[in-house]
């Protein structure tokens, strides 16, 4: 455990010393704050529009950061050959992969907490205390980002960052269209198209499961059973993807 935490804390330190991360967070802050401007150009329920814009920005920039970090982190170890002095220590490779992943989860938690704090302060000053469903939706978003990061890490264990980024973006997009793919398949006349859509639906993650933005924007309650279902799905799916990353990483030679 000590060794896993050593790798995790080193990953955390390495990431938060990366200036690019601050650039992304800076842009996220600008967009979240900028959502207030929507009040001026919106007719109707302006509060909901602002909440929707701000939460959308948190979701988008959270995903960008998860992709950016997940894709680069393992590859950087291989490219810079820093892996040589780690893999030559008495560290099973699964500890290395899980250590890196844990470090990334800490960074994502910090980044999400900063954006959530900004949102809370902004809403408090304009609309009063945010509804509890907002906070639950962020926990669900955190699970989504964890799963997305696991996919990005899996791809980065065997391919260059550009390829890994393309694959990860593809999984992210398909994952957000999972329900559409399912319905498209059910409506198709061809049995093979229907089967293919079902395979894609069950194989790839359904990121929309984690999306509780509608409930939080409209300040609707989220049930515990729904939350637990999503949590089991998220943790289970992430574990499988991480197991894949461990397998791939465990077999490769470091050149």
């Amino acid at each position: 455990m000590n060794r896993l935490l050593a790798i995790a804390s080193n990953t955390f330190r390495e990431t938060i010393r990366d200036k690019i991360l601050y650039s992304i967070i800076f842009f996220a802050f600008i967009v979240i704050l900028g959502s207030v401007a929507m009040e001026e150009i919106t007719i109707g329920d302006q509060d909901k529009v602002v909440r929707s814009m701000a939460q959308g920005a948190i979701r988008l920039f959270g995903s960008v950061i998860a992709l950016f970090l997940g894709v680069g982190l393992v590859y950087k170890e291989l490219e810079r050959k820093t892996i040589y002095t780690i893999a030559s220590k008495p560290i099973p490779r699964w500890i290395f992969v899980l250590g890196k992943y844990t470090g990334l989860l800490w960074v994502l938690a910090l980044e999400l907490a900063l954006m959530a704090l900004l949102y809370t302060v902004m809403m408090w000053s304009r609309q009063g205390a945010p509804h509890s469903s907002v906070y639950i939706s962020w926990v669900m978003l955190y699970m989504e980002l964890g799963l997305l990061t696991a996919w990005a890490m899996l791809f980065s264990c065997y391919s260059a960052p550009t390829t890994a980024a393309l694959f990860s973006i593809a999984v992210w997009m398909i994952g957000h269209m999972a329900d559409d793919i399912w319905y498209f398949g059910q409506e198709a006349a061809s049995a093979s198209v229907r089967s293919a859509s079902e395979v894609v639906y069950w194989l790839l993650p359904n990121f929309e499961m984690f999306n509780a933005t509608a409930a939080s924007v409209h300040e609707l309650p989220l049930t515990l059973s729904h939350f637990l279902g999503v949590a089991i799905y998220g943790v289970g799916y992430t574990s499988v993807v991480l197991a894949g990353a461990v397998m791939v990483f465990g077999k490769r030679d470091f050149k």
Partner: protein, 324 residues
């Protein structure tokens, strides 16, 4: 497994597949190697011979295609086999955002070290590699020599019983090379086994108890320096001073260089066969000259390596002709 053995490989093979057509490239061909506990073992060979591949397999960076390898009797694939191993890769790369102290703390934690024993070990090593003054600045501002010293320190953090060093002297200035040599000697005194590769053969000759010569993935020779180089004196190099106006009767073929000094004395550097040493010195003294230096020359490791490379080339040529 023999308890006196630090490293043992049997029939170790490594085949790399490269390119779109997955062409095979043989990295190691049935390597049988034994490194005894407590010895300094030099692993020598031309580029691409398989030195780094062997080391990478031993420390778990590469997998072997076939064969067995063990460290202190433990299978090299078991991460626990690395608990008493220190490894310095060729051209080491470290996290540039860390300082040397943070780096050593990180590597110490990977060995489950911590608290005041780890801090004491870090201070001891920083002192040993002369990085105390730079211990708290990021590694990104280090020179190559400083990085190599930080690399040596991380390889020693766990007080290893076996140190594997891949080209530790590469790119270092004479002081840096001396530091590495001194550390190797100190570690040997402590009872540690040192397995290292180097292209600087004079260092290998000075440091090693035994040497292995590897060419194209095959171990071509192994033994002590005496076994590999022999004790026979091949020839003698000598330097004579001949005063101005004097001459000596010496075959011009023996003279390797000559120059006239400020006082008009001629300084001659000669290489002589053993049988001619006595008569030549007598001739120099009779002529009023003086003997500045006489040094027997033995076979060098470089010569042995060249011979082995030549052997391999001849074998390949014969095989090729056989196929044609």
């Amino acid at each position: 497994m023999n308890s006196d053995v630090a490293i043992e490989t049997r029939g170790l093979n490594k085949i790399y597949l490269s390119g779109f057509w997955r062409r095979k490239f043989v990295g190691l061909k049935g390597l049988d190697l034994t490194v005894n506990k407590g010895e300094v073992f030099g692993f020598v060979g031309p580029n691409g011979a398989g030195k780094t591949t062997t080391m990478k397999i031993l420390v778990g960076l590469h997998s072997a295609t076939a064969g067995e390898a063990s460290i202190f009797g433990v299978d090299h694939r078991d991460p626990e086999s690395k608990r008493s191993v220190g490894f310095l890769p060729e051209r080491p790369y470290f996290y540039s955002h860390l300082s040397a102290r943070e780096l050593l703390r990180f590597y110490g934690r990977l060995f489950n070290m911590g608290g005041s024993p780890l801090e004491a070990r870090i201070n001891e090593l920083l002192e040993r590699v002369d990085l105390v003054k730079f211990a708290d600045i990021p590694l990104r501002s280090y020179s190559k020599g400083m990085l190599q010293r930080a690399g040596i320190a991380q390889a020693l953090i766990n007080k290893p019983e076996l140190i594997i060093l891949d080209e530790p002297m590469s790119g270092l200035d004479p002081m840096g090379r001396k530091l590495i040599r001194d550390i190797i000697f100190e570690e040997r005194e402590r009872g540690c086994t040192v397995f290292f590769s180097s292209h600087i053969l004079t260092d290998v000759e000075q440091i090693c108890d035994r040497v292995g010569l590897i060419v194209r993935g095959e171990l071509r020779a192994i033994g002590s320096m005496e076994q590999l180089l022999g004790d026979d004196v091949k020839s003698v190099e000598a330097t004579f001073d001949i005063p101005k106006g004097k001459t000596i009767n010496l075959n011009q073929e023996f003279i390797t260089s000559r120059r006239t000094r400020d006082d008009g004395t001629k300084r001659l550097h000669v290489t002589l066969e053993n049988a001619l040493v006595g008569p030549t010195i007598k001739e120099v003294i009779t002529s009023g000259g003086s003997v500045v230096r006489v040094e027997p020359t033995k076979k060098s490791l470089e010569t042995v390596l060249e011979e082995k490379i030549g052997e391999v080339r001849r074998e390949i040529n014969e095989k090729t002709i056989g196929v044609l």
